[in-house]
Subunit: 115 residues, 2 copies
DNA sequence: AATATATTTGAACAGTTGTTCAAATGTTCA
DNA sequence: TGAACATTTGAACAACTGTTCAAATATATT
């Protein structure tokens, strides 16, 4: 699985950058999975409209001009990732952002994109 | 493309959450693309080892126990996203993190994952 | 120029992803 | 209970992604 044998490199930089230790394999996988959820424009748009106000599936679909089914599928992804929560009120189910992390992650990302 | 006609919803939440205005379609797409790059554990690992010290392809491959080719492909993705920079030094090409944004985005993500 | 080292590149492949469509599940109200 | 509303679910399909493999490029050394 590794074709790195018989290499003559002698480099050792010594420059220390990052604050913490290298996290566990499992943690890095979780981190990648979290970012993967943010890595789709439909989901990003959903999170943005939810950041403005709680909404039901119908209204999100209307706002983004997409089918209810497509939005529902993506909401289930967001819910599984604990980025949104839902609350039934009669026939309608309202979705909201799960916590402040979402906003903070967004702001960092926007900083980078809008530099 | 939209099956949301003839809906009887009357909801208007009024709850205002997010600091800024809804960004442009294009900006949201860029944001999603940025997160997409973070959404792979190999790339996350590469960024982590680069956060500790600048490294060449061979040593990254060695550290992550993967092929040089696989790492090289992913480095080109990271470079295209302006998350890493490279600097040739003789035969060897050293890679480094492009800026502090990477660290900040990571820290936000880790906060969420390790809650 | 020829050789060894260091890395990139492109095609190919299996695995994953997002949307659509049709059908199913819940909920409310007459 | 039956009809209307609100949303979810699963299968299907095309598009995309990450890794491998083999070959190409680039640099340094002799």
């Amino acid at each position: 699985m590794n074709n790195t044998k018989n290499h003559t490199h002698m480099h050792e930089s010594g420059i220390e950058h990052f604050s913490g230790e290298m996290p566990q394999e499992e943690t890095l996988q979780s981190l990648a999975n979290l970012f993967k959820v943010f890595g789709d424009s439909t989901r990003v748009k959903i999170l943005f409209v939810l950041a403005k106000s709680d909404m039901c599936v119908y209204h999100i679909a209307e706002t983004l001009d997409m089918t209810i089914s497509a939005i529902s599928h993506q909401l289930s992804v967001l819910k599984k990732a604990n980025l949104v929560t839902s609350q039934r009120q009669g026939k309608t189910i309202y979705y909201s952002l799960a916590d402040e992390h979402v906003r903070l992650i967004f702001e960092q990302g926007l900083d980078h994109v809008c530099e």
